[in-house]
Symmetry: C2
Subunit: 382 residues, 2 copies
């Protein structure tokens, strides 16, 4: 790929332009807001003007509802040999391309799974997409050339290509992105009516749980509208769950009684279902479906011995989040299990061996999903 045009120099469009122009591609930048295109150009993302020639690829980085019109207009003037977009909803743009675009074969839908709460070109990062999944949704008409151009774009951004049907993509992001955004907004909206002193007891947990609610409301309104059927379905399920939860928590406010026990069971069941659900989310940094492996290390029961092991493992650059004591029979010392990404387990085991630790390897185990660590002894109240 020699030349590319980015239409829409917001966060995603400018980040793509920064990544690609850094790899030697000549990039042109346009935006309905000329100041945005000039800001992106000032960042070194490319040239803030129309190419004046047919480019190899046009990246349409505008909200979902605008993709169809922008694609049609661009194809009518022969802007590029291939077209893709980055909208987080894919069925609508695909239908628009098939129905209205002059040359739907030259278009393949795309959705890079990367973003930030900040919008606009100043928030852009050339590395935004590194090792992130980038979904491509070829239609029944998409040409091999258009698909290959999009794959080349994904590679230039150091992202991981994932191919899905547009409808499957939209059903999945409704659960993993769109409804979570609404839940975060609902929760954050409650803070506006919170009691005094709220800020003094707000911690990282709340910050993380509500962070995504910061996204631009008009852009998100557009995204949610474009995926409304799938979003409405998930919302209704959530509403049903919440409608069961409210009376359960209410019952806990009443002293004793059978409905109080039932309320607690309903509550703990929801909390446990939530923990199970977390296992569906790939671990950070891990590949989409990466497996894990366990390494067990025997530790003598001497003060500081466990700390020495955890320090030794930490020196290897391995997070000890998945460390769990498995046996602690009186006087018999401990066995500590580390759940590790498969690619690092061997390296860690060898290094611990060399360090004089007694190591037991396991094969083909899954990583401990987040939450299982609660099986570690020592949680009071058990």
């Amino acid at each position: 790929m020699r030349t590319m045009t980015v239409i829409g120099t917001g966060l995603i469009g400018t980040s793509i332009a920064l990544a690609v122009s850094g790899r030697g591609v000549r990039v042109f930048l346009t935006d309905r807001d000329p100041a945005a295109a000039r800001t992106a150009a000032a960042l070194g993302a490319g040239l803030a003007r129309d190419p004046g020639e047919t480019v190899d690829l046009a990246v349409i980085a505008v909200p979902p509802s605008h993709v169809g019109a922008v694609l049609t207009e661009a194809q009518e003037r022969g802007l590029a040999r291939a077209y893709t977009d980055v909208a987080s909803v894919k069925a609508g743009p695909e239908q628009a391309a098939l129905r209205r675009a002059p040359d739907p074969a030259r278009y393949v839908g795309g959705h890079p799974l990367a973003g930030r709460e900040r919008s606009g070109p100043l928030a852009a990062r050339a590395e935004l997409f590194r090792d992130r999944n980038w979904v491509l949704t070829p239609s029944r008409l998409t040409s091999d050339e258009a698909f290959e151009r999009a794959l080349e774009l994904v590679a230039l951004c150091a992202a991981v290509p994932v191919v899905m049907r547009s409808q499957d993509h939209d059903a999945a992001v409704a659960v993993t992105s769109h409804v979570p955004h609404l839940m975060a907004s609902l929760m954050a909206a409650r803070l506006t009516e919170g009691p005094a002193g709220l800020g003094r007891v707000a911690g990282q947990g709340l910050r993380d749980a509500t962070r995504i609610a910061a996204g631009d409301s008009r852009l998100w309104g557009d995204i949610l509208q474009a995926n409304a059927p799938a979003v409405a379905g998930v919302l209704k399920d959530l509403h049903a769950d919440l409608s069961r939860l409210v009376p359960a928590v209410d019952a806990l406010t009443r002293a004793g009684g059978a409905d109080r026990d039932l309320g607690m069971r309903t509550l703990v069941d929801l909390l446990d279902r939530g923990i199970s659900g977390l296992a569906e989310i790939p671990a950070a940094g891990a590949g989409p479906q990466e497996g894990g492996q366990g390494v067990r290390v025997a530790v003598a029961e001497r003060p500081g011995e466990l700390a020495r092991l955890l320090a030794a493992v930490a020196d290897l650059g391995v997070a000890t989040e998945d460390a769990a004591v498995e046996t602690a029979a009186a006087g018999a010392g401990f066995t500590v299990r580390f759940g590790l990404p498969a690619r690092t387990a061997e390296k860690v085991a060898d290094a611990l061996d060399a360090g004089g630790w007694t190591v037991v390897r396991e094969d083909d185990e899954r990583l401990l999903p987040m939450g299982e660590g609660q099986a570690v002894p020592g949680v009071p109240g058990r």
Copy 2:
């Protein structure tokens, strides 16, 4: 303080023991699960036995519903000269102390605003509480000596003491911690019924939004029960908001019409209320109510010039999250505003001055709350 006993060597109890014993205090560790106390001792947190003498302070690190009984039992055998706890609910333990404990004057409630998803002593960190708020809730009977002992504990853990009435604390954490946990659980529970390919489109946003749902379900059941009245109140408000949201999103699935416009207005209004709510959360790293200060820098409109400024600021260790282009009149160059914590603004301004940049200082401004960055030009679809 010379001696301390920690009752309950889970994540919080063991972290406190690690911090305090590191500061020269002789620490004793007990837990209803002897293996947990021995694990904590093996980490170097203290001695896994009863003190056999009256210690200066006893820290009760057990679930909320157990605090009253543990406090009463400990005071009956004269375990310590002062007592505090770390339960995330404070009114219940206070009432239990006033009603049942032999010497309520020696008790002051406490709640360190720190934690992790992992439970148990192995997850403990001596630095867990550094710079975190630690709420103390003295009752009408709490003695000065008990209060001062608790303040000493907070200082030894490098935390920031915050004094609140127990009822005010509970109302606030219902909004900032307990209901967010339930929302995260509700969302994560949906993932168990998600469509195929869900894992391929799950990103950091979902990971952060649901992270807190990983907390131990029995411990959290106990916490939520102990604060059920306040939690139920917030849940009902959320349920009402969601009951309005569902038909609004439903309306967006129907073509055109007035109710579709109304649906979009309802949706965007919720998203905007969420953004406003985020302003109630203190910025990460910032003190509880720390103000911010703005620094403006003029930039010539040359390719790479903005990038050079952002790099210069980054070299100063300042996040550029709050950078916003304010003016971009054609040819006139840019003015970039950085919202900075007050304590670093001067340093940054001076360094940029020295670096040859044209700097404009502001005084007594609030930090840009997260979300306002969306005012940056260049969001397509505006």
